[in-house]
Every structure is written in C-alpha cells, then in structure tokens.
Symmetry: C2
Subunit: 257 residues, 2 copies
Amino acid sequence: MGALHAGHASLIERAVRECPTVVVSIFVNPLQFDRAEDLARYPRPLDADLALCERLGVDVVFAPAPEAMYPQPPQITVDVGHMADHLCGAFRPGHFAGVATVVVKLLNILQPDVAYFGEKDAQQLAIVRRVVADLNLPVVIASVETVREADGLALSSRNQHLSSEERLLAPLLFRALLTVRDEVERGATDAAGAVARATATIPNDPRVRLEYLELVDPASFQPVERIAGPVIAAGALWVAGTRLIDNIRCDGPRTKY
Amino acid sequence: MGALHAGHASLIERAVRECPTVVVSIFVNPLQFDRAEDLARYPRPLDADLALCERLGVDVVFAPAPEAMYPQPPQITVDVGHMADHLCGAFRPGHFAGVATVVVKLLNILQPDVAYFGEKDAQQLAIVRRVVADLNLPVVIASVETVREADGLALSSRNQHLSSEERLLAPLLFRALLTVRDEVERGATDAAGAVARATATIPNDPRVRLEYLELVDPASFQPVERIAGPVIAAGALWVAGTRLIDNIRCDGPRTKY
C-alpha cells in the first residue's frame, strides 16, 4: 500500500537479493478499508516511494489507479471463511476478504514466482498462505521479519499519524506481547491467564485502548485455550485515533541448560 | 465433470482445432453439489471418457482424486456475489461458489491460455467470465454452442438418468424457451407476459415441474422486466427425479424484409 518504510525496504532488499527481477506493487486498496476516513487519510507519498524503490534496485513499480483495478464494481471476491473470525478479522468486517481479493488480482496481473509479505501483518500472511494453498495459486509466499524501532514499536505507515506524545505510548503493545511470550517461556499453559497478565501492563490511560490481545495457532489462526506448542500472540492497540497492530511468535517453554 | 457426450466432444474438437496442446479436466467437484444424492449418482465412466479424449486428439486428461483437489477442508472460496441471486443460483445454494472455486483452482493448476465452456450452462459461463474479469485471471474464456438431440433436448450427462418415458417429456423445456424467443421476436416487451405464455406450454403432468423460467441480461444475469435488447431465456425443469436446465438467446424483434 506504499508509504514505504524500513519494514518494506527489508522486504524489497530480500527480494532483490533472491530474484533476478523485482516488481513492487503500490496500491491503496479501497476494498480492504472498513472505515472511509482511514482510506481517506492513508498516506500516499508516491514520489518518495518511487525514489526508494529506485535506490533499492527495483525493476518495476506497479502503481495502478483504483479505476484500473476496479473498472466495474467487483461482483467476484475471495471468501476467507473462518480465517477472518478472530483478531483483526473480528473487528474489521470485510477487511480480509478485500485483502485476499486484491492479492489474488495482483498475483494474477504480475504473475511473480515469489511474493514477499511482512510478518507484522500476521493474520494477513496466514490468510494469503491459505489463499495460495486452497486456490492452487502458482506462487511461493516468502515472509520477512517485522522491523522495529529501538523501543520495540513495529514499523507501520500508520505510525506517522502519531503525535510525539502518542508515539511514547505506542510501544505498550509490543511490551504487552513480550509479557505473553515471557509467560509462555516460563511454561504457562492457560492462554487466558497469560493474556490477562499481559493486558494488565497496559496503563489505565484515556489515550490508549487495547482492542484485542489473543493467542492463536500459527497456521489456522484459531484461538488457543491451552498452550501446548508454538502460538502467535497478536494484538491491536488504539493510541488516540490511530490503530496499531503487532504480533510475536511464542515457541514455548525455554529449555534450561 | 466427465460423462462426456457430443456436447463435450464439440468443445474438445474446437480446442483441438485452435490450440497446439489440449488438456481436458475431468473432476466431479463435491463443492458444487448442493444435494448429496446428486453427487453420489453423478455418472463417472472414466474409461469411456479417456477413450473419447484419445480419439479426439487430447494431449492430457487431468482427472484428480477429490483428496488431491481438497487435501484439507477448503477455507478459502470464491464469492460470486449477486451473480448467483437468480436462476439456478437461487435454487442451488452454494453451487456457483463451488463452481467458481474449482474453476479458479483448475485454471491455476493447468494454466491454459484459452479455456472452453459450453453455453448450455449459461449462468456458469457468465459467472466464469466475471471471475476472470474481476480476479484478473490470465486466460481467455471461449464458449461453444449447445449441442441438441433431434427433438431439441440439450445434451447433458444427466439425460442418462431419464427413463424412455421421461425422455419423451424432456424436450418440453426447450419448447417453452422457443416460445419465449418467438414472443421476443414478435416484439413482446413485457418479460412476465412472455414467460407466462411459455410456462403455459408445460402440461399439467405430475412427472414434470418447472423450477424456473426467467429472462435475464446476457452479461449481468440480472432479471429483465422490460425487454429492450438481447436477453437470455433460461429455465430448469424437473422430469421425475432429474433436473434439466437449458437456455436460449433472444436477440429481439426480427426485422421484416
């Protein structure tokens, strides 16, 4: 969706290392926005994005107009089933159907051998992997680790909406996720308990509101009640008018040597 | 779906004429059957199908097992929106989502340049065309005219379920559709009136039941109330336990010379 930051750059750098030809798609997809004001204020600094792509050695930037992608109102969309029942899917109706639909369109238009996605959008990544598997799309999905600021905040195009005061509150989400991971590493098996202890780290401040914090199975993205293997802890935090998401993989109890 | 007849043969013959390599897919797709008994009794004469394909010069027959096409319960499917609100879609919930999903899978697996579909399944053809347009699938859809018996009955794998007595009733559907076309050629503009006159040609016989007979726009497959251009008349007729479908294009009033 453009507004490229160091997280995107790490995707692009890996693609440039691994592939003879690299195409970057930049498209703020109306179909995946559940709130009109979010679509309207989503940043679109195309010139800066093009300059970054050129600097990184990208061969082609595909930045279509909305009318080129949707010449008529879409009748046919991708139904993501139960993969959207939880986490962001539960709070953003239609969002992942919109994401899956535009990803299928972009993959069909560009026909890449490998497509790179960031792990920050963990539910999106899991859904894209399932789209590729269930619809037999001829592409390999590669994922790239989340890039973070020094204080742990995951890079996101939405971070630029934060005032300097709000910016100080933004790492609360990552710290809550670290608390879950600590619990899991210490051998916690009750997901609700671990989540409650993590939630308690979010201060009672009118500027922050935790939308969700859940433990899910890494493949199915269905909620986990009893922790018995690797899980993904994922959360969404509103900081004033900006919604931030993040996630962290919890591999289980740490072996003591 | 196999059980190949002269209608399929005409699709294959055209593909063989037009393409250097021809692949036929044969797959009785569980996802598109709304009634378990219809799936169970759908004919699967694979040896005869393979022999016909070989005789016609087909290069590859792709006849996967259901477990190969659906190694896990599908989470991701294709949503066909309002294209399934009418005609068969209204009577077979989930049918066209199942068709669209398996067509996308087959196209992604086989990656043909051109895919051939029969005009007998008119709503399916319109939906497949819209799937290709809306999801930007890199394929050309070609359609081939319905092949009919001498008495007008459209060839269908389901015709073999008809007893010889039921077979005599089966052309009633085509005759009703011809009545609609006559009405349109004579300048009728009221769809409901034309449909009523066609419906009246179906005798009051306990062995036959007209499920629907509608006039729709050829592209959108939305119902037409006032006839002002080409329309498709489509119907479904139950003959005893067998459901037959057919359709006919009505181009409008015939010019008198």
